[in-house]
């Protein structure tokens, strides 16, 4: 045994304190379990430190400046200057407040916090190497383990992150000055959120994407609204282009891409952000020791109780695969903790909403029309354009729509696609409706406050029933 090594025991060992892990730990603590949470880096994980929160902070702050500079039509004359370093410091303050809160909540719920990197040593022990030189290590015996080690950005071959020329989203959220120009590789949600921010901050953004539109996985008409707005802002898109190589050139770099036909294109920029997806963190856990093996995508597969193939080991969050979203991680974390505590919990959610914080935002939940059709339903669709919504006009933001998909036979609401200002909030009502097994009529007959964007939600449902007031019904 090395110097400083001790052995401790716990009922529940949680590895990784992101929104999957810390929520699992708090819930386990609430349920009276003895729980130990190990984190090697920062409480709150990717989400609070390098993901959701920093990105939304910069998006919102940028909008405050950008909107004021773009409102002459409203009689507002301003030429805001942005000090990115100070904006990033403000963002760091927000992060600190939230991560500090997570730490306090863990303690208040009786969670033992251990700083260090954990790996499995056997079926029921893990070794934790504490951070920092000579801090020693410890062995933790556990009855149950919850793995919540999250994910890391995928690197494109030849584009290793160096923090100077080639950035991951993490570094792009902590720059101290706005680059003059940036090539963004990947038009998924992270690439699109950050392209929008930097373009609004005055950076010339060029997006290169292998597929033929932004936001793969979203329906064409949803993606189009976001792409057209980004184009209006000045973002330059190149589709069907795979990032091939790069080299330094003058003060910046040249990024080379290749299309299907093998044709090469070159894009000069100060920096390059690579955002082509994320991969579960399973390679550093010594999973064999506990008898587990991730699948070919690096994912720890789980059942409806968030349990892996090894009965007393659970996996939640990004490490358990798609959808890689913070609220999925937390929902899974709660279920895992409750199952460990012997409660009849299950991952039987009918509705996992998702949001993209572009301009305008996107919010989706449940099935698209095509998905409903494939699932054997008889889809009926209702739609309402934002330009017919009074609140959208008073906000000066009238692009987008609310679409709902129901089943014609039963009237059940099956899903919704919203592209609109505050779509991330509007989707909440629709998620509740889908989760509860509401009918289109239930939402249409609910009174929506005037003047609000949520009136468009009610009207889209009414439209599916042929009785919307503020749009013509099919």
């Amino acid at each position: 045994m090395v110097v400083g090594d001790v052995t401790t025991g716990t009922e529940v060992l949680v590895i990784g304190a992101g929104p999957g892990g810390y929520v699992a730990a708090i819930r386990a603590g609430q349920l009276g379990l003895d729980v130990t949470l190990v984190e090697k880096d920062a409480y709150g994980g990717t989400c609070l430190n390098y993901g959701c929160i920093p990105s939304k902070a910069l998006i919102s702050a940028t909008d405050v400046a950008h909107d004021a500079g773009d409102a002459e039509e409203m009689g507002i004359y301003a030429d805001p200057a942005v000090d990115l370093q100070r904006m990033v410091e403000w963002k760091d303050g927000v992060v600190d407040q939230l991560t500090g809160g997570v730490e306090k909540l863990c303690k208040a719920n009786g969670v033992n916090l251990v700083e260090g990197r954990a790996e499995f040593a056997s079926e029921d022990t893990a070794r934790v190497v504490h951070g920092g030189e000579g801090q020693g290590s410890e062995t933790i015996e556990f009855e149950h383990a919850i793995v919540s080690t999250g994910s890391r950005p995928i690197e494109v071959p030849g584009f290793e992150f160096d923090g100077e020329h080639i950035l991951s989203s993490r570094e792009a959220l902590a720059l101290d000055a706005v680059p003059e120009s940036m090539v963004v590789v990947g038009a998924g949600y992270i690439g699109m959120e950050l392209s929008t921010v930097y373009q609004k901050l005055g950076c010339d953004v060029t997006v290169v994407e292998m597929l033929d539109d932004v936001l793969p996985g979203y329906e064409d008409d949803v993606a189009r609204v976001v792409r057209e707005r980004a184009e209006d802002l000045g973002v330059d898109f190149h589709f069907g282009q795979a990032a091939d190589s790069w080299e330094e050139a003058g003060d910046g770099i040249t990024v080379r891409t290749e299309n299907e036909d093998g044709e090469i294109a070159e894009f000069g920029a100060e920096k390059c952000l690579v955002a082509v997806g994320r991969r579960p963190v399973t390679d550093t856990l010594n999973l064999e020791a506990v008898g587990l093996e991730p699948n070919e995508d690096g994912v720890l597969e789980t059942d409806h109780e968030a349990r892996t193939d090894v009965d007393h080991v659970f996996a939640v969050g990004d490490v358990a695969g798609e959808p890689m979203l913070a609220h999925t991680a937390s929902a899974e974390g709660e279920v895992a903790a409750e199952v460990v505590a012997g409660e009849p919990a299950a991952l039987d959610h009918q509705a996992i909403p998702a949001a993209v914080f572009t301009d305008p935002e996107i919010g989706t939940v449940g099935m698209t029309e095509d998905e409903a059709d494939e699932a054997g339903f008889d889809p009926v669709v209702g739609q309402f354009p934002l330009r017919a919504n009074g609140r959208a006009l008073t906000l000066g933001e009238d692009e987008g729509f609310v679409r709902v998909v129901g089943d014609d036979d039963s009237g059940f609401l099956l899903g919704a696609q919203v592209v609109a200002p505050e779509a991330s909030e509007l989707i909440a009502e629709l998620a509740l409706a889908v989760e509860m097994g509401a009918q289109l009529e239930d939402v249409a007959a609910t009174i929506h406050t005037h003047p609000t964007l949520s009136e468009a939600v009610g009207e889209a449902c009414a439209n599916a029933l042929g009785k919307a007031i503020h749009t013509l019904n099919r």
Partner: protein
């Protein structure tokens, strides 16, 4: 085939009814709903639990 509970992986019941089903050991996707559109209510779940053979030993 008419749409209904359990179709396409969907369960048409409120979370509270689904939790009750888990507590009572009822497979909710197999319950015929009496609510609007065939939605499964808490009383449907209770009725299903009562008519279900006792599986405990």
């Amino acid at each position: 085939e008419s749409s209904g509970n359990g179709q396409g992986g969907r369960v048409f019941a409120a979370p509270s009814a689904r939790r009750l089903a888990r507590e009572l050991g009822v497979e909710i996707a197999a319950v015929d709903g009496s609510g609007p559109g065939g939605r499964v209510t808490e009383s449907d779940v209770r009725a299903a639990a009562e008519s279900q053979p006792d599986e405990s030993d």
